[in-house]
């Protein structure tokens, strides 16, 4: 079959799965629902893999025109190129594994069919996002994933204790995302205004004919608006506070949406519009600094979080920050490389934490865990691999992708490079703090839980093992050139080969001595941190305090640098105050009074005029004459003054 129809199938299957499970899922058995849900993501993975093998150039697939306006038209269309198909494979591949895992994790949940329907619909929206041929289609997917994310974060909405909190987190996520969406929307308006189109290829072509200056106001506003959208979806400063709250959703959701796929949409957006960003070095600088700041802030906050999922959430924010650093430095394929490896190891870590949480009777506090190594050997092994990968342990996937970001940063001065190293070190520190606290030492939870600690079933461990293998060998996608003779930088080549704009941007490769030097340096650093953490948490058996007991910098970290409180008093409070006090005063105190007076006036004058209706004929004649005189008078005045 031709790629055109194949790619439609890729989209159709998850949509179909969502519809089937949503409508008839209630009457099906759990295993059947799970199999349908999984198959509808697995088949698209196989199809997209076959497309990937045969893809040699970008393919446009126009579908239909929604509306033809006078200055532009809104079209539905798809586009398959290297970047799109690569993202498709990540989404469907990781998606399949997470669907399988969910069959075990969600077992017995009353909303089992709904869960799989939402997950399928999420995959569908995400695929539209990456396969769309225009900013308009991208926006469709962009909002679609936001809605699925909303539904899935608030999935346990009727929980007795946490129901309202879950849905509050869901609403926060949706609203903060909407602020970003606003940026995307305005960027769309500006793009239409400037280029008269929203199609990626058309804009790219028109950029050659429509002169648009480097760092001109137009290009800076467009790119800044796009970046605002990216900060919303990808949880960067200033819109990052929703992501940790989004952990209220079931853990597979955190793995799929809030770690591996949806939150990378912002990175995808910037890579997709690289030809715009290349013209705006100003915006690129902003991206660089925002990414760097986010990475450090999130890593700092993750240092003293005691909720296992919160640590992973902040770690995600921090890693996304690193990807934005790569984007800010113009290394687009490096960012996608890190997106890929991050999808592997972060999905692994989240699913691993899901396995841990399930074994601990939904306890997420790491102060209540400990010594899980002997109870859950498989989970321990894969979690260790994930931790090593994210910490940048030599030759695991995260080592290579993070190293490329460091290498890119090296060319931009010692301060940026130093801060990147700091961020990477912090990652290793908080990850190993968590790892040792969870798996080593004595179990600190209650006896009941201890007696029931168990390894998760195969349906959950098998996806974990697959992800662990990917986390180990994922670096092979983009080996640096000095390590192997041929086939180095395979991902760079693949992406730039068939993605518009990327071929023009060649990743900057350092010379071998410096590259090897950085590698050895970071390896030693990571190993030292692991060693010190081992001494602190295992040899000296130090355990952490409860979150309420922290003081000093630890308190600052556990309180998330008071970002939530700041936003609350800066934005939420004033608007709510207006909504509760100021506007009702204007409404009831001023406007309403005026109208009441007006009404009273009309009614009372009605009462006055009623007296005229006296029934006396002569009085009627009198008023008639007055009326005629009045009309003649009006016309005289009228013709004299108005028409002169």
């Amino acid at each position: 079959m031709a790629t055109e129809s194949l790619i439609l199938l890729v989209l159709l299957f998850p949509l179909l799965g969502g519809i089937i499970n949503g409508i008839v899922g209630k009457n099906l058995s759990e295993s059947l629902i799970g199999i349908i849900g999984t198959a509808m993501v697995a088949i698209p993975f196989i199809i997209s893999f076959s497309i990937f093998l045969s893809l040699d150039k970008a393919i446009q697939i126009p579908l239909f025109t929604l509306i033809q306006m006078s200055k532009f038209s809104l079209n539905a269309g798809l586009q398959v190129d290297g970047l799109a198909i690569w993202m498709t494979m990540i989404i469907t591949g990781i998606g399949t594994l997470i669907h399988i895992f969910s069959m075990g994790y969600m077992k017995g949940d009353s909303g089992f069919h709904k869960f799989f329907a939402y997950l399928n619909l999420f995959v569908f929206s995400m695929l539209i996002l990456v396969l769309g041929s225009s900013f308009f289609m991208l926006f469709f997917g962009w909002e679609g994933v936001g809605i699925c994310s909303y539904l899935l974060i608030g999935f346990h909405y009727n929980d007795k204790e946490k129901g309202m909190l879950n849905t509050l987190a869901a609403r926060k996520a949706f609203v903060m995302n909407r602020i970003g969406d606003l940026g995307l929307l305005i960027a769309c308006f500006l793009l239409i205004g400037k280029f008269g189109s929203l199609e990626f290829t058309e804009i790219a072509i028109k950029m050659k004919t429509i002169p648009i200056g480097m760092d001109s106001l137009a290009i800076i506003s467009i790119t800044l608006c796009l970046f605002l959208a990216a900060t919303g979806k990808s949880a960067q400063i200033p819109l990052f506070t929703w992501l940790p709250d989004a952990m209220a959703g079931p853990t597979p959701v955190s793995a799929l949406i809030h770690a591996a796929t949806m939150v990378t949409a912002g990175i995808y957006l910037v890579v997709r519009s690289n030809f715009l960003f290349e013209l705006a070095p100003y915006t690129q600088h902003i991206i660089l600094y925002i990414g760097l700041a986010t990475s450090l802030v999130a890593a700092f906050i993750a240092m003293r979080q005691n909720d296992i999922k919160k640590v992973l959430a902040y770690s995600t924010v921090s890693q996304l920050g690193l990807m934005f650093v790569a984007l800010g430095l113009g290394s687009y394929s490096v960012a996608i490389f890190h997106v890929t490896t991050h999808a592997f190891f972060k999905a692994l870590l989240f699913l691993g934490s899901g396995s841990i949480i399930l074994a601990n009777h939904h306890e997420q506090n790491i102060t209540k865990m400990g010594g899980l190594k002997k109870y859950m050997p498989t989970t321990h092994m894969v979690f260790l691999i994930g931790t090593l990968a994210i910490a940048g342990f030599p030759f695991l996937s995260g080592f290579f992708s993070k190293d490329e970001i460091l290498a890119a940063g090296f060319g931009h001065g010692p301060i940026i490079f130093g801060l990147l190293i700091l961020s990477a070190s912090l990652t290793a520190i908080y990850m190993f703090r968590m790892y040792f606290l969870v798996f080593f030492g004595e179990f600190r939870g209650d006896n009941h839980t201890r007696d029931h600690l168990h390894e998760s079933p195969a349906v959950m461990t098998i996806p974990l093992i697959v992800l662990a293998i990917l986390s180990i060998f994922g670096g092979a996608l983009n080996f640096p050139s000095f390590m192997i003779e041929s086939g180095s930088h395979w991902l760079d080549d693949f992406l730039s080969h068939s993605t518009f704009g990327l071929s023009a941007v060649h990743p900057h490769h350092l010379d071998t001595t410096i590259a090897v030097g950085i590698m050895i340096g970071t390896s030693l650093l990571t190993l030292t941190i692991i060693g010190i953490s081992y001494i602190i948490y295992v040899t000296k058996k130090k355990t952490t305090k409860e979150e309420s007991e922290f003081i000093g910098w630890e308190k600052l970290s556990t309180k998330k640098l008071y970002f939530d409180e700041l936003y609350h008093s800066l934005f939420v409070k004033p608007i709510e105050w207006k909504s509760l006090n100021v506007l009702p005063f204007i409404e009831n105190g001023i406007l309403y009074k005026i109208i009441s007076i007006l009404t009273a006036f009309v009614v009372s004058s009605g009462n006055q005029i009623r007296k005229i209706q006296s029934g006396i004929l002569s009085s009627y004649y009198f008023w008639m004459i007055i009326g005629i005189v009045g009309l003649i008078g009006y016309y005289l005045i009228y013709f004299k003054f108005w028409n002169s």
């Binding site: 009727n158 609403r171 949706f174 909504s579 009404t599």
Partner: protein
């Protein structure tokens, strides 16, 4: 002509139908009128400037009896005749109104008045039909609502005063035209100062009806005290008269005046749009919240119309249709909650989705449609309107776009407070068949117009072009 006569006849016959048959008669009758409208749509020739239904130019004082429609008028006629059956269907189980012959008669008379407004081709005729619609809705509010006399009086007098402004403007315009016929009124050339006065007079009527800030205070009280069907009639159809009037009557009649009024109306609309949205954020009365949300949505349409470009008007048309659909859905939701929980206070609802999963689902669909997500008509409408506003003035565009955020805040808050959480009440009867049918039809309509908005733009396009041609024609001043 049968378009108007059928509904008038239905209205008159309804008076004498016995009350145990009236429910079915009403529904069937409204479907017949919908069928007539569809017949007109199928035979519509969009290239003709006007499809005249009836013409009589021999009336005194330059009045004419001229009715007909262009694409825009037909869109509104279709909207009226298709929304009325849906309103009656959602009202099917409200025994107080649905088993009353009087109620049905008034609804059909209302429909008659609306069709008259949308097909009038004469200024005075337009005014008469415009005022006529006020009578049935007032009587419905009076007999079937629970509003105090004060609220009713406010509504009646307020809208009446506004209409007077329009009447005076038409009379003043007549002094420059040979008759009250639309064509003649449009052809009239006015001095700019006078045009401004005339336009203000017409705008006063429309601003109160839409309602534009600060003329909106009649609306929330009226909405909350009105029975559901009247609220739907008001928000889905009656307010649209004013938006339709802005496009078809106000701007072409006195285009010379727009320069003075454009910014005023635009700013008031945008202020109202934000004002109402912020008002909603902490509101706990669900019906009142939807009333303010309606003000906010209509403010955007009014602002878009004032830009008066083709794209903005197309966007406004799409959004007019979308808002009618959404308004029916939202007020049905408010009614379901209010009638089954005996409260409109959202803080006393909580957890309804667990008790009534079907309701939870359909509420979610309507709620998302009302925050205009992609694939719904609202998205296309808001996208075009905001785009045009941004083109006109970036700051106005950005300010108006913030409603996307506010809209999400208050709509999802309403959904969360009423639906989510552990159930507070013991029982909640899930949706009845007619309610499911209504939600189903509305959702399908929203999605169809979201995917194929050109259904609307193709219909109204040529007539908008003609209106714009009048507007852009060089004046002889």
């Amino acid at each position: 002509m049968e378009l108007l006569i059928v509904t008038l006849a239905l209205g008159l016959i309804s008076f004498i139908i016995p009350r145990n048959n009236i429910k079915l008669f009403g529904l069937m009758g409204s479907l017949v009128s919908a069928g007539v409208a569809i017949f007109h749509l199928l035979n519509f020739d969009s290239t003709a400037p006007l499809t005249t239904l009836y013409e009589n130019h021999t009336l005194p004082f330059g009045m004419t009896f001229h009715i007909g429609y262009d694409g825009l008028g037909l869109l509104m006629i279709m909207l009226t005749n298709l929304i009325i059956p849906i309103i009656l269907l959602s009202n099917y189980n409200n025994s107080k109104t649905s088993e009353s012959s009087l109620f049905h008669a008034l609804v059909f008379l209302m429909q008659f008045g609306l069709l008259g407004v949308f097909s009038a081709e004469d200024g005075i005729l337009f005014y008469i039909f415009w005022e006529f619609t006020l009578i049935p809705i007032f009587l419905i509010l009076y007999w079937f609502g629970n509003g105090t006399n004060k609220i009713l009086l406010k509504f009646f007098i307020y809208t009446l005063i506004g209409s007077l402004g329009m009447l005076l403007s038409f009379i003043a315009l007549r002094t420059h035209a040979t008759s009250f016929d639309y064509v003649d009124l449009v052809a009239a050339k006015l001095p700019a100062k006078k045009a401004c006065w005339i336009m203000s007079g017409i705008m006063l009527a429309f601003a109160i009806k839409i309602p534009v800030f600060p003329f909106h205070t009649w609306q929330p009280d009226t909405y909350t005290s009105a029975p559901m069907s009247a609220t739907m009639l008001l928000s889905a159809l009656m307010l649209k008269m004013a938006l339709f009037g802005m496009i078809k009557w106000m701007l072409p009649l006195a285009p010379e005046g727009i320069a003075d009024l454009k910014w005023l109306v635009l700013i008031l609309s945008v202020v109202g749009l934000l004002y109402a949205a912020v008002m909603c954020i902490r509101m706990n009365d669900i019906k009142r919240l939807f009333a303010y949300a309606s003000i906010s949505h209509l403010g955007l349409i009014a602002a878009g119309i004032m830009i008066f470009t083709k794209d903005a008007l197309v966007g406004a048309s799409v959004q007019i249709v979308n808002h009618s659909i959404i308004a029916v859905g939202l007020f049905l939701i408010a009614e379901i909650l209010e009638s089954r929980l005996n409260t409109r206070n959202m803080s006393e609802m909580q957890g309804t989705a667990t008790l009534a999963p079907k309701f939870g689902f359909w509420f979610a669909v309507i709620a998302f449609a009302s925050v205009s997500i992609p694939f719904t008509a609202g998205f296309i409408g808001e996208f075009t309107l905001l785009k045009e506003l941004t083109d006109f003035n970036p700051w106005i565009g950005i300010l108006s776009s913030t409603t996307l955020v506010f809209g999400a805040v208050y709509t999802l808050r309403a959904y969360q407070l009423s639906m989510f959480g552990a159930p507070k009440n013991e029982i909640f009867e899930d949706l009845r068949w007619n309610e499911i049918a209504v939600f189903f039809i509305l959702s399908i309509a929203v999605v169809v117009f979201g995917l194929f908005p050109h259904l609307i733009s193709d219909l109204v396009g040529p007539s908008l072009d003609r209106i714009l041609a009048i507007f852009n024609a060089p004046t002889s001043l």
